[in-house]
Amino acid sequence: MSRALQEPAAEVRPLLSVSGLTKDHGGGHGCHDVAFELWPGEILGVVGESGAGKSTLLDCLGGFAAPDAGRADYQSRLFGPVEIFGLSEARRRRLARSEWGFVHQDARRGLRLSVSAGGNIGERLMAGGARHYGDLRARAGAWLERLELDPSRLDEAPRQFSGGMRQRLQIARNLVTEPRLLLMDEPTGGLDLSVQARLLDLLRGLVRDLGLSVVLVTHDLGVVRLLCDRMLVMERGRVVEEGLTDQVLEDPQHAHSQRLVASILPV
């Protein structure tokens, strides 16, 4: 065999590249010196126990918390390469409602409860300049269907929906502008198992069809096994291990990863 090894293709560049990300909440809470890359079309799982800093990390990336240090370089469709913590507020908002999505564990945080389902989905489109009422309605209806929600409920408010339906509505609201980067915080947390399975299956399909890149925070290794290409394990604010999902689950190296994997309940 020839010894010439293949060079990485030039076009393979990370969509998001985070380094030195630190947010100290005091008392050992927060995240410290977190670094990772997210590749186009990849789902990256971030796991760890409560208080490990997973949500702090996601909140910093989503603009809900300001980091103390670190940078996050992102390949924007609109603006080209940008460092997201240093963006002007106007640019950050523009990206947040077009190229990025954020799915909260509690769908009520990510939805406008007093606005109809259709209004929730249409909001990002309107922010992007869409005005034609019939067109907005049609697109909102199509997204409800795509998330397996009954399009005849377009005019109902989300508070009339079940927890699982509200979560799917929150996802539709985010995906309507076809973002490139989706940040998800425990999207299946608190849902019944059968509802979880449906949501996970839907997400798998959507990620493939839309070419989404996702950072998914969860404490559920089953969700990671099913959805994620790669994962980070966090403990006390730091990333202690990273690898392809099957690498970390089948051959965990760090003591904390071994503890987490050993705690998976067999079915």
Partner: protein
């Protein structure tokens, strides 16, 4: 002699169990093997000798401690030890198939889709992917009335055949087979033997573990007895 498709050189792998007083569990020490295109090598030896570990290191599920693993990918050799994750994923998508002993069940996804997924990942369009998936399920005697059902409710043998169909439908140039016929009856074993021979004929390089001697004799060009010399000290 046809070209080398898989080249394993000095592969070592052990495990450290942190919760058990940092216990060291050495499995493989300095294992080497080269497999040519169109060749099927069977790994043999008592359990615990590291046969599955070789396959899992090659697939990337286990991280080797030392050594080199080179595979022919997109026409050129690539080193898998220390390879970036995107490269490992690309190798899995286009080059390297792995038949595990058990199907990893995905809730709600129907059998036909389970088999078609790797084809879709490799860029095959949906219609063609489903046709190939269906043809492979048919050969493995999974009746079409089951294709739209998730395999969770299938028997062990049916699940293993769905698993085989998923790994064999994409016609990967490299295949790793870990007990591919373990849960199968005689008729389906014969089908699998046929499929492995066809893969060999089209030039696939294969490494397999076959406890079933007649299957091994029917598909393997070479049997590599693994023993103490491959074991880590």
């Amino acid at each position: 002699m046809s070209e080398t498709a898989i080249e394993i050189d000095g592969l070592s792998k052990g495990f450290v169990r942190h919760a058990a007083g940092e216990r060291q569990l050495p499995v493989l020490g300095g294992f080497s093997l080269a497999v040519a295109a169109g060749e099927c090598v069977a790994l043999a030896g008592p359990s615990g000798v590291g046969k599955s570990t070789v396959l899992r290191c090659l697939y990337g599920s286990y991280r080797p401690d030392a050594g080199s693993l080179r595979v022919r990918h997109d026409g050129a050799p690539v080193e898998l030890v220390g390879a970036p994750p995107w490269l490992v994923r690309a190798v899995r998508r286009r080059t390297l198939g792995y038949v595990s002993q058990f199907l990893r069940l995905i809730p709600r996804v129907p059998a036909l889709r389970v088999v078609a997924e790797p084809l879709l990942d490799a860029g095959v369009i949906e219609d063609a992917a489903e046709r190939r998936a269906g043809a492979m399920l048919e050969r493995l005697n999974i009746p079409s009335r089951l294709w739209d059902l998730p395999p969770a409710t299938f028997s062990g043998g049916e699940q293993q055949r769905v698993n085989l169909a998923r790994a064999l439908a994409p016609a990967y140039p490299l295949l790793l087979l870990d007990e591919p016929t373990a849960a199968l009856d005689a008729g389906n074993r014969a089908v699998v033997v046929e499929l492995i021979r066809e893969a060999r004929q089209r030039g696939a390089a294969m490494i397999g573990i076959f406890h079933d001697r007649p299957v091994r004799d029917a598909v393997a060009d070479r049997v590599l007895e693994m023993g103490a010399h491959e074991r880590a000290a």
